[in-house]
């Protein structure tokens, strides 16, 4: 029974978020909200189960990574009002759960280095950054599927510094309309940058771990290339040239890349 707990948690979450998605499609928002709260509870239980069973925070592996990223996605979704956002958010969570089903579910094998602070920070912050990148991807997709009617005041444009910036007349409002779309893009960009900062903290810790283990701050390896690729994808989303940068599809694809790549790296590395 105890060994099956990860499987039970993932199955329960799948069922709950499927109910939420169906309810949102059927416009039964109250039931969908209840399902979401229940989902948060089950996910939180899953993460706490990992912490107390393994006596460390979630680090990697399908069950640990998936549960932790889903919890981040759920917490970051607080404060959003758009139904489209929640539809995409629930779909992405279901997608992550499907990825979990595709792998053996269980706790990772223990390793004596998991007591080391730099090792813990490297793995856990990487998952946190992945959660932020996936959340940014959800925001970009919401922006794509729920576009502004007439972008009168809130629209993406290029900043003076050469970096893409978002200008809104009423930044931070939650009204649904053109201004909200501007703020949605701004939120997506801020989340991507926050993810980048967290990711760099993870890489910094990983470099220190590498230095203490191998004598080098970094090594030529498959993992190093993938980690650098993720950072380059983040850099790409922050350095869009004016012309392609104004195209919604292009912006959405590029903005979603770090989240998608982070998931691929975590589940298929």
């Amino acid at each position: 029974m105890v060994e099956n707990i990860p499987g039970i948690i993932v199955q329960a979450m799948f069922l709950i978020f499927l109910i939420e998605l169906v309810c949102r499609l059927a416009k039964k928002y109250r039931t969908a909200g209840v399902a979401r709260i229940l989902g948060i509870g089950v996910c939180l239980f899953g993460v706490l189960y990992i912490v107390f069973t393994a006596k460390r925070p979630p680090l990697f592996g399908p069950f640990e990574a998936g549960s932790y990223i889903i919890l981040i996605l759920l917490l970051l979704s607080a404060g959003n009002r758009r139904n489209t956002f929640f539809l995409i958010n629930a779909s992405v969570i279901l997608g992550i759960l499907v990825l979990q089903f595709a792998h053996p579910l269980g706790m990772n094998e223990d390793y004596y280095m998991y007591n080391n602070i730099w090792v813990i920070l490297f793995f856990n912050l990487r998952l946190t950054a992945a959660g932020l990148f996936v959340h940014a991807a959800v925001l970009y997709l919401t922006y794509f599927f729920d576009p502004p009617d007439q972008p009168k005041s809130g629209h993406p444009c290029l900043g003076e510094t050469g970096t893409t910036q978002i200008r809104t007349s009423e930044a931070g409002t939650t009204n649904i309309g053109p201004t909200d779309n501007g703020s949605l893009l701004k939120k997506a960009r801020v989340r991507t940058l926050t993810g980048a900062a967290v990711y760099l903290c993870s890489e910094w810790s990983g470099s220190l771990w590498c230095l203490n283990w191998f004598g080098d701050s970094w090594q030529w390896s498959n993992g190093f290339f993938k980690a650098s690729l993720l950072f380059l994808l983040v850099m790409l989303t922050c350095h869009l040239p004016p012309v392609p940068g104004r195209k919604r599809l292009f912006r959405t694809i590029l903005g979603s890349c770090p989240g998608i790549f982070a998931l691929w790296m975590i589940f298929f590395h």
Partner: protein, 258 residues
């Protein structure tokens, strides 16, 4: 010319090229695992001297990657010193200055990355048993007087892949397993330390790292594999890297509010 070199278009397309090159690196590291092992054992500049004739494909890939990174460096430098500084001076706003400083620090991180490839000293996977010693860089010498491994020695006798499952926090106690290492500079003892896993001996820029414990198959003696490095840039790299993250952390709330 400076206009073109500092353009955002160049940044974007060069980043795409780097994504492609790193993606190729992922594939190459699977096709030529031994080549990438060799790159980690010695300084990359040393590796490159022989790689041209022995493994031209990874060597060419490496040169292209360096060129692309070099172009990113020039691009970032031109953009920072022309556009970004002007914007920061003109607006006087703190987020514009942070944006400028952030890019300056990124350029410095790139420089450190580049210099670490060519500067310093490195000797990897050296086996030491009690009583062994080695000299390096003409003036240093390390001696291993004792190696203590208190956990189950059978784990060390397993193959590397099998070891992983047994090296749990319950089975391995890193603080109790150590190599007693003495470092001499021109015959003068400058450091003596119990070197454990993940806690190397450091003296200035010299670092002596225990990478793993081993058993001599002939006589069953326990020894260690160690790596000796001397890279004065490591400390600088970590400080600049840390400052860059701090700068980004300060910049984010400002743009979120603006």
């Amino acid at each position: 010319m400076i206009q073109k070199l500092s353009s955002l278009k160049l940044t974007f397309y060069n980043l795409i090229l780097m994504v492609f090159l790193l993606g190729t690196g992922v594939v190459l590291s699977r096709v030529y695992p031994q080549v990438f092992d060799a790159m980690n054992k010695i300084l990359v500049i040393e590796w490159l001297k022989t790689a041209w004739s022995e493994t031209p494909v990874p060597a060419l890939w490496f040169v292209l990657l360096c060129l692309s990174a070099g172009l990113l460096f020039v691009n970032a430098l031109c953009c920072t010193l022309t556009r970004q500084i002007q914007t920061a001076v003109r607006s006087g706003r703190i987020e514009k200055w942070l944006f400028f400083v952030l890019h300056c620090l990124f350029i410095m991180v790139l420089v450190c990355h580049g210099l670490i490839l060519v500067k310093g000293h490195k000797q990897s996977h050296l086996s030491f048993f009690p009583g062994d010693g080695i000299g390096f860089k003409d003036r240093y010498r390390i001696e291993v007087s004792d190696v203590v491994f208190t956990d189950d020695v059978q784990i060390l006798k397993m193959k590397k892949k099998e070891q992983r499952a047994f090296m749990t926090r319950e089975n391995i106690h890193p603080k109790k397993n150590f190599a007693q290492v003495s470092l001499y500079e021109d015959t003068r003892l400058v450091e003596n330390k119990r070197v454990i896993m993940l806690s190397p001996l450091r003296y200035g820029s010299v670092q002596v790292t225990v990478t793993r414990f081993v058993v001599d198959p002939k006589d069953g003696r326990i020894g260690v594999k160690m790596t000796i490095t001397d890279n004065p840039l490591n400390m600088l790299f970590f400080v600049i890297y840390g400052l860059m993250i701090l700068c980004l952390g300060l910049y984010i709330p400002l743009i979120a509010e603006s």
